[in-house]
């Protein structure tokens, strides 16, 4: 039996997460104020971080025996999809993944991750072989999670040196460059691929959320905006662009959750499906965000339209959760 649609319980989780994010972190929070500036933390305050912890999100997939809720990975992905829709910091899913890393090693730090006392952010190597990393929303983070091919490592923030701020393309996150000496020892490490797969799936789910949010925004506008005396969505040029967005979102949804289920049931082709999910969801997010801007016309080019938020988030997430070399070796390594 294959079922790619949410169960009733899963739908309730989706509704409650979506409701919470819509109330606390609506995408409109990222619109510039009268002075043209945005809140530096993109609305994700310490208080809100603790609130999220109290909802149990950081331990959603950790076993009940270890203090989590014991849900399968697809439930974590359903949450990640909503996070993507609302362009919430990737630190949330990084902390979710770090909890698994800690749980696997039977680490005492697990409780502080689940409880929201420790905040994990993403560190991403700038270029292959180098020791420079991008720290994403890293200011105030206790630890950094690094994914490289099938290996994940968690470092204490103090392992990074020479941290200097850079301007972020996605200005809903802060971005720093920092050095990680080759001699730095990780707090935790997993080379089995299990955590790496989770990180990649959570990224793909966020990309899916971006793709779906851009679709929704474009369709709402196309149905409301009138030119030549009718809604622009009645014109085939716009309608067909929206239809293509829907196809990409559907492909990303199906492949991402099929990959999640493959991972959950330990199918031998899980890595292949996860890599395919990354490729398809990254394309869907980027292509849909671009189309969304175009469908909005002039307003789509402004900062007050949310379309650019999705474009920038698509670029950011597209760089995470499965690098090119891994995608190639996984998708082209052998026959299916």
């Amino acid at each position: 039996m294959i079922d790619l649609l949410p169960s009733e319980e899963q739908q309730q989780i989706i509704d409650s997460v979506a409701g919470f994010l819509e109330a606390q972190l609506p995408v409109t929070r990222l619109r510039p104020g009268p002075d043209g500036a945005r809140p530096a933390d993109a609305g994700l305050t310490d208080a809100l971080w603790h609130h999220i912890a109290s909802l149990g999100w950081f331990g959603l997939g950790v076993s009940e025996a270890q203090g989590g809720a014991g849900y399968p990975i697809v439930v974590e992905m359903l949450v990640a999809r909503e996070l993507g829709r609302h362009a919430v910091s990737p630190s949330v899913t990084a902390t979710m993944a770090a909890a698994h890393l800690a749980a696997r090693g039977g680490e005492t730090s697990l409780a502080s991750l689940i409880g929201g006392e420790r905040r994990v952010a993403v560190a991403n190597r700038v270029s292959a072989g180098g020791d420079e990393y991008h720290l994403i929303d890293g200011r105030g983070a206790d630890c950094f999670l690094i994914l490289e091919e099938t290996e994940t490592r968690l470092y204490h923030a103090s392992a990074f040196g020479r941290t200097r701020p850079v301007m972020s393309l996605d200005d809903a996150v802060t971005l720093d460059r920092a050095d990680l000496p080759a001699s730095a020892q990780p707090l935790l490490r997993d080379a089995t691929g299990d955590i790496a797969h989770r990180v990649s799936l959570l990224n793909s789910a966020q990309l899916l959320g971006v793709a779906e949010a851009a679709l929704r925004l474009a369709v709402d506008y196309a149905g409301a905006r009138e030119q030549f005396g009718q809604a622009i969505g009645s014109f085939q040029a716009i309608k067909h662009s929206c239809a293509d967005m829907a196809v990409r979102a559907e492909a990303a949804y199906a492949q991402t959750f099929f990959a999640g289920l493959s991972q959950g049931s330990r199918r031998p082709d899980a890595a292949y499906q996860i890599a395919a999910a990354k490729v398809v969801s990254a394309d869907a997010a980027l292509a849909n965000a671009r189309a969304c801007i175009q469908i909005h016309g002039g307003i789509g080019f402004t900062a007050e339209c949310d379309a650019h938020v999705f474009l920038k988030r698509a670029h950011l997430l597209g760089q995470l959760g499965g690098e090119r070399r891994w995608l190639r070796s996984t998708l082209l390594g052998s026959g299916v």
Partner: protein, 391 residues
């Protein structure tokens, strides 16, 4: 959400695999003519005799009455075993049969369904006309009621396999006064009836199964009407729902098998530099990577439509997403084949005729059964709720 096979499903897969291994026809399938018909019907008969015909059809009409999930398993194993799919039995198995099951009279079902399953009849579709393609509701082929018969005059076009078909799902205008889709009737047409002329249409791929059909006072019993007289639009939407939904499963799995063939080819053929094998070339590797990811996603999209199918027995407009995606992707896969073959692709010879013919043939995949443009209209209007507008 779940992905697990029950012990019954695993058992079913084992049975299917063993049977296919022993029974899949070995010879190359003829591309055209009565030889193709005989090949396809013989394969269908063999499936029936083995108890494998109509896996998801009701038992009372000779089917197995099994789940849609089991039907998917069947098609997956067919792909692994390289069993023939589609062809001249496609319309009967994937449109006419399912439409009759949902909308046919008891008599129609008892007569036609067993014949379809036993490999005794070939069906073709009679929807499009020279002046009614994408605008299907404008069909003009006339049928007037005379006593207990319909008398049909006009012409249908783009009818695959008409020259070898026994029956046709025919959409005719029974009320010339009614507006567009209101005066149409869906009727079962006997292709051997007096007054029918079939003209073959040569195609760009050289496969000769496409036809135009002419009707000159063709008499069809009123008992052959499916649904109500003047109620044919509704029935044809049911038919097209099947075409755009589950009916594509076999094609999609076939496409995945084709891409795997290309993956192998990329490891054998020399790449653009003339030294390394093609897969070592970055541009080729990137294209193959992308196609593999997209074909994987297509499979997941089938599973998604199967998931929906389990909750709504008659397919909705969502099937258009899969059909659109399949059409566009299949053209990309075959275009990649031609690129890989490079200069070899200019020669039709024994080693690569399938790639080249399939490449040319794939151009129909974004036209037949609804063009990509019409599918985008349906997705935009019926799934996304955008307003209908000028065409």
């Amino acid at each position: 959400m779940q992905l697990s096979h029950t012990p019954e499903e695993e058992q079913f897969r084992e049975e299917v695999r063993a049977w296919l291994c022993a029974n899949v026809p070995r010879g190359k399938r003829p591309r055209t003519g009565m030889a193709l018909r005989e090949y396809d019907l013989e394969w269908q008969r063999r499936q029936y005799d083995g108890g494998w015909a109509g896996i998801s059809w009701p038992r009372e009409y000779g089917g197995r009455g099994l789940s849609l999930a089991q039907q998917v398993i069947w098609y997956e194993e067919c792909a692994v075993a390289r069993a023939p799919v589609g062809g001249s039995t496609f319309v009967a198995l994937s449109h006419a049969g399912p439409t009759l099951i949902v909308r046919g009279t008891e008599e129609q079902k008892r007569f036609h369904l067993p014949k379809i399953l036993k490999g005794e009849s070939v069906w073709c579709q009679g929807f499009s006309e020279p002046n009614a393609g994408s605008d299907l509701a404008s069909v003009k082929t006339q049928a007037r009621v005379e006593g207990d018969h319909l008398v049909v005059n006009g012409s249908k076009i783009w009818t695959s396999y008409a020259a070898m078909a026994d029956w046709q799902e025919l959409l005719v205008r029974t009320d010339p006064e009614a507006q567009r889709h209101k005066g149409l009737t869906w009727v079962i047409c006997d292709m051997h009836a007096r007054g029918i002329t079939v003209r073959k249409i040569p195609t760009m791929s050289g496969t000769g199964n496409l036809c135009q059909v002419f009707y000159d006072d063709v008499r069809l019993p009123l008992a052959n009407v499916v649904g109500e007289v003047n109620g044919g639009w509704d029935v044809s939407m049911t038919t097209l729902g099947f075409e755009r939904g589950t009916a594509f499963i076999a094609h999609q799995i076939h496409l995945a098998a084709m891409l795997e063939g290309l993956y192998g080819l990329a490891h054998e053929l020399k790449g653009p530099d003339g030294r390394r094998v093609a897969i070592e070339d970055d541009a080729i590797a990137d294209q193959l990577l992308r196609l593999r990811a997209d074909v994987a996603a297509l499979r997941a999209m089938i599973y998604l439509s199967v998931s929906r199918g389990a909750r709504q027995p008659v397919p909705g407009p969502e099937g258009n997403i899969v059909a659109l995606c399949y059409g566009e992707l299949s053209k990309r896969v075959y275009a990649f084949a031609v690129e890989l073959l490079a200069n070899e692709g200019l020669e039709l010879h024994d080693e690569n005729p399938d790639w080249l013919t399939d490449y040319l043939d794939a151009f129909k995949n974004t036209i037949a059964g609804g063009t990509s443009e019409i599918r985008r209209n349906v997705i935009g209007e019926r799934l996304l709720g955008l307003p209908r507008g000028g065409r």
